[in-house]
């Protein structure tokens, strides 16, 4: 250690990364309040020379604009004293961020040398970190945060082995700070009603045996899905259609009805000759239908009434989840379609009509008759014991007045014991903590009430459990994640979280789900806090399929992929855009993120990957030859550098475009926000409209952008966003590579980062961003921490973020090292009263 410190003292910034190994790898664990934390790294006081050189750098490069007279952006640094950085930590964190991104001084102004940049940064950061170490502030996420939709769905999956359509049960969550797990402290009456209703539906579906009347569900196929060829996940020799997992509540007869897509003339679109389609249950065909056109003198109007009316089957199905699949049988002629260039979407009668019929929806109704109930995953998970099983085999002892009454009372005792064991287990996992007798009182009362109320006796036990489960699912202890402060701490005291709370933070962070048995068990035994145990758990959890949530939930939100679902480009300009392409975009980015997680690759590979994931559709879209079929596979990009990393992904390029054109502003803003971590402030109120100029000449995008930067109010922010976005103009509004813009003007893709660093095109942008990987990694760390904590990040968290990035740097910024560093950080492990 001492040797390392001296190296640090001598070498300054360049070795900070290495030196920070000196920070103890594991936080000290205290029982209650921790007055000092090593989270942000221990630093020695800077040499006196550091202050004066830094002060003169600030005076020379910053104060020329940020002085008492001009107060550029309302900021004056004239009278700041660098000897007491900690008194104005918020200000200096802002400065540090700008310096780190080399965004200040602005392009055109005199700039310090790289050494000077590093000196000043190093000085400020070590001062700020030192102050944070002395007075740690791990922040205070709200004590009560309700489960959002995703978490609720996953909690039900973990608790009851039941997949639910959560979108039907709960309203969408609002997002703030980029994520939908933050604005979750409110509870409106409508939402409470939805939770109550969800509790009833979920508990009924999980138990199954109490379902009396038929339930129904309609599975809609996206209307703009082209179904001319085989779709991924469906069998060879099939065409179009869809597959869904449906949970059947009991053994019984169910009706499955298929509807075909119709055009606005109410005809089944593309039905020009007979087509066969099949209905399969768990992969085995149960019914084969033929649909035959019925065109008549009505000349194509509403002539197909009833042609799909016979697409209905009644089938016996056992309880539990089953795969329901509907597909057409492919006709050989369909092969020609795959040869078309460019690809044509086929889903709209006017613009690009279907050539063959398509499936629009499947509805499943039932049970119409009940024949029993098979073991389902949910029932196996819930019924860990059987009621009254013990009494039957029990010999009756002599001396008891009535054999029957003894048997009954024994049965009831056995029932009660079994019920208690089931309910205790449900409550513990639902509440994500050990439960007490007091916790079980009410659910047991609900059990007993329903148990005695319900006839026949055969279902009474299960009806009782169902009612107890329903109550548990409506309980605030289930619906809310609760972080209780330990008693007796003064307000503002930082303290370490209990293992049980840490377990929930960990599992909701990595899985968007509650802790599993192993994690909860470790926490209950007080072992989770042990550094090695924690590290092993993080590794285990990242290797678990549930960690896909980091891609499908975290990365989706971070990279704005969620917006893809609602994005639909102008059909006239982009006739090839359909749901298939939208899905392919999404899948490509998801698979890159999943690969970085699964193979534990450096997170910078999200920007730099020289490979990507394509199916035939997406490969054609990108103009990459040799990829056939609908399944995705890893493809090495070779010299197709424009597609390296997410900046070349159709997903990102499309969600940052308007319906009919690209937007350098949106793309630039996206880079600033999600890669550089320096989002521009929101536009001011009363933005003046762009002056219409009747020059008679079509302006290129670059000229139009330049026009609007002429307005001084706009320029301050747009000069940060636009030059970055303009470098990505080689991609059109649906992410295709192009040589000219919408108006046919040749492209000029020279670009500039906020600090003025110039480059050419998207490859230049990528290299410029990768030149300082710590900027991107610290943005990602900030996003991970925001998502993991469920609160906005502010200047007080910056020392922790720097520590996270330094730790990850020691391991080439591998994904697991970044995640582990987040998990070990003070804001994640601690809380303030």
């Amino acid at each position: 250690m001492p040797a390392r410190w001296s190296i640090l003292l001598l070498a300054g910034w360049a070795t900070l990364v290495v030196a920070s190994r000196g920070v103890s790898a594991v936080e000290p664990r205290g029982q209650a309040a921790v007055t000092s934390s090593a989270a942000s790294g221990r630093r020695p006081a800077p040499a006196a020379g550091g202050v004066s050189r830094s002060q003169s750098l600030v005076d020379e490069y910053c104060v020329r604009c940020h002085n008492d007279r001009t107060r550029t952006q309302g900021l004056s640094l004239s009278s700041v004293d660098l000897r007491s950085v900690e008194t104005d930590a918020e200000l200096w964190e802002k400065v540090t961020k700008k310096l780190q991104a080399r965004a200040m001084p602005p392009a055109g102004a005199p700039r310090p040398s790289e050494q000077d940049y590093q000196h000043l940064l190093s000085f400020l950061e070590s001062e700020l970190d030192r102050a944070a170490t002395a007075r740690p502030d791990p922040g205070r996420p709200p004590a009560l945060r309700r489960l959002n939709r995703t978490e609720y769905r996953n909690a039900i999956r973990e608790l009851l082995a039941l997949d639910i359509d959560v979108d039907d049960l709960l309203p969408a969550d609002d997002s703030s700070f980029g994520f939908d797990n933050i604005s979750v402290t409110g509870l409106s009456p409508t939402l409470m009603e939805r939770y109550l209703s969800a509790a009833q539906k979920v508990s009924r579906l999980a138990i199954g045996s109490t379902v009396r009347a038929p339930l129904s569900r309609v599975i809609n196929v996206p209307p703009d899905l082209t179904q001319e060829t085989r779709l991924d996940g469906l069998p060879f020799g099939s065409r179009g259609g869809t597959v869904a997992i449906h949970t059947f509540p009991v053994d019984g007869e169910y009706a499955v009805r298929i509807r075909l897509a119709r055009n606005r003339n109410e005809n089944v679109e593309g039905l020009n000759e007979p087509h066969d389609l099949e209905l399969a249950l768990d992969g085995a065909r149960v019914e084969r239908f033929t649909v035959t056109p019925k065109r008549n003198q009505l000349a194509g109007y509403y002539a197909d009434e009833g042609v799909d009316a016979h697409l209905e089957a009644r089938l016996p199905v056992t309880a539990g989840p089953h795969e329901v699949r509907v597909t057409f049988l492919a006709k050989t002629g369909a092969l020609i379609e795959t040869e078309r260039q460019p690809y044509l979407a086929r889903f709209n009668a006017d613009r690009h009509p279907r050539a063959q019929p398509a499936v629009r929806s499947i509805s499943i109704e039932g049970p119409f008759s009940t024949s029993g109930i098979s073991a389902t995953p949910s029932r196996r998970r819930i019924f860990t014991c059987a009621p009254a099983a013990a009494s039957a085999a029990d010999p009756v002892r002599a001396g008891v007045t009535s054999r029957r009454s003894l048997a009954r009372s024994r049965a009831q005792t056995a029932d009660a014991a079994c019920a208690r064991s089931i309910i205790a287990s449900l409550a513990r996992r639902a509440y994500r903590r050990p439960v007490t007798d007091a916790d079980l009182e009410a659910p047991l009362a609900f059990y007993r009430e329903a148990r005695t109320e319900v006839r026949p006796e055969a279902t009474a036990f299960e009806a009782g459990i169902e009612m107890a489960l329903r109550a548990i699912l409506a309980s605030p202890e289930f619906l809310f994640r609760i972080e209780r402060d330990p008693a007796g701490l003064a307000p503002g005291t930082p303290y370490r979280l209990s293992d049980v709370i840490l377990a929930s933070r960990l599992s909701f962070f990595l899985w968007s789900a509650p802790p599993d048995e192993e994690l909860l068990g470790l926490a209950e035994r007080g072992e989770l806090g042990r550094p090695l145990v924690l590290e092993r758990q993080v590794a285990r959890m990242l290797a678990d399929p549930r960690a896909l949530a980091l891609s499908s939930n975290f990365a989706h939100q971070w990279l704005h992929l969620r917006n893809l679902a609602a994005h639909s480009p102008d059909n006239r300009q982009f006739p090839e855009f359909d749901h298939n392409l939208r899905q392919a975009f999404r899948r490509e980015t998801e698979m890159l993120v999943e690969t970085v997680i699964a193979e534990d690759r450096p997170v910078t590979e999200l920007l730099s990957a020289s490979y990507t994931f394509l199916n035939e559709r997406l490969a054609k879209h990108y103009g990459i030859p040799g990829v056939y079929g609908d399944q995705f596979r890893r493809v090495t990009l070779g010299d197709r550098r424009e597609r390296f990393g997410i900046l070349g992904h159709g997903s990102v390029l499309t969600v940052t475009s308007y319906a009919n054109r690209t937007s350098p502003v949106l793309r630039g803003k996206w880079v600033l926000e999600n890669v550089l971590g320096t989002p521009p402030p929101p536009p001011p109120a009363n933005v003046p409209p762009l002056a219409e100029r009747a020059t008679g000449k079509m302006l290129s995008m670059r000229e139009r952008m330049a026009e609007h930067r002429k307005n001084a109010v706009c320029a301050t922010c747009h000069q940060l966003m636009d030059p970055t976005g303009l470098s990505m103009e080689s991609f059109d509004a649906i992410g295709r590579w192009r040589a000219r813009d919408e108006d046919g003007s040749p492209l000029d893709v020279s670009g500039q980062l906020p600090g003025g660093q110039a480059f050419e095109g998207v490859d230049g942008l990528r290299q410029a961003l990768l030149a300082r990987p710590e900027v991107f990694v610290s943005t990602m760390a900030e996003k991970l921490l925001t998502f993991g904590l469920g609160r906005g990040i502010d200047y007080r968290d910056r020392p922790a973020i720097r520590a996270i990035v330094r730790r990850a740097a020691q391991d080439e910024y591998r994904f697991s090292s970044l995640v582990l560093a987040v998990v070990r950080s003070a804001p994640f492990q601690m809380r303030r009263t």
Partner: protein, 448 residues
Amino acid sequence: MIITKLALPRRTFLRGLGATVALPLLDAMVPAMSALAATPARPSRRLGFVFVPMGSNPAPWTPKAVGPIAELSPSLEALKPYLEHLTIFTNLELKNANTTGNHASSNAGFLSCARAKRTESTDYENGTTVDQIVAKTLGSKTPIPSLELGTDLIAQVGNCDNGYNCAYQNNLSWSSPTTPLPTEADPRVVFERLFGDGGPPDARRAELRRNASILDWVVKDLASLQRTLGPGDRSKVDEYVDTVREVERRIQRAEQQTSASPLPTLERPASVPEAWEDHVKLMFDLQVLALQADLTRVITFQLARESSTRTYPQIGVPEPHHPISHHTNNPEKLAKLAKINAYHVSLFGYLLERLRATPDGDGTLLDHTAYLFGSGMGNPDLHDHQNLPIVLARGGAGGVKGGRHVKFAEMTPLANLHLTLLDHMGVRLDRFVDSTGRLDLSNGAVSL
């Protein structure tokens, strides 16, 4: 008023649905105690719209006399029993629907009076519709702010009319200029939204009690939770307690309602009735139930979407509506168009009959409801938007006199009528899009 006793084929309902399933969906199923029940003297106000596509054949549509009338025209004949509640308007215009995509813009403009932006993509733009302006004011008083219903099951995507996004024809209501509200045509979905699983009154009451006892416990649980929290978090829990109490109150009101004036056994419709007429009537039944239980006070209903190609063989029109509407003054086609008009009107008559047959406070539902029936197109052969066929059915409350045919000066904005309906619902605006004044509904005259 029992949904199962309506003139609906039994096959439209799930067989064997003994309906002992209780109500789960609280927000949807709690009929708040209606204003009427609280203060019987004041009728609650409700507003509905029924949209039909592609205008009319005006000759058999327009009543001969102007002012108070005793006779209706052939196309409107089915409304004769409700004449005292009717005002028929002639010469209203939807100016902003004059576009290059007239079907799209007349559907989009019918309630917004705005000009739909020409786009095939999701950057569509229309205007906030009159029903939604009302829903924003009255919506908080009922569990469901508004219902948007239709009979066309499949929403189209992309281009539906010469460069206009299908959203303009799929939907009638827009909650903002950029937010069309999806039209629901599946009676099962509507039913579940209104009544959850349904079932007989005693089962629904039992279900309410179960939820009430869970909530009772939740409040206690919150109280003990609160004791373990710091002062800052305690106030948050107070908010939750208030929320839960509010839900409890809603349940109490629902229990009172279920006991005092019980809705009948509610059987959930399984799927869409095969015959379109049965489908329409079922959708009307659901509207009446929703209004009766005071689940909502604002409803829009697209009887068929604009440029619909539905055929009506049941009334002797096997040809699709849209091509027939391009009648080129061919007498045979004009006659068939009039038949379709009269058929649609007769279905509206079914709704009025249901409303009048349903007791509501001191009168019937019809007394406390206004329903506008009409189209955003005038002469469909020309795709014009003048002389729209518009009928207003309105209860007697508020001193409205019906039984009138009001003939305006040509090209009087439809927005004037919408503005007046807003007044009537207690929403006072200075102007609605291109309105030029208000109408006096109390005597059927015009005050511009």
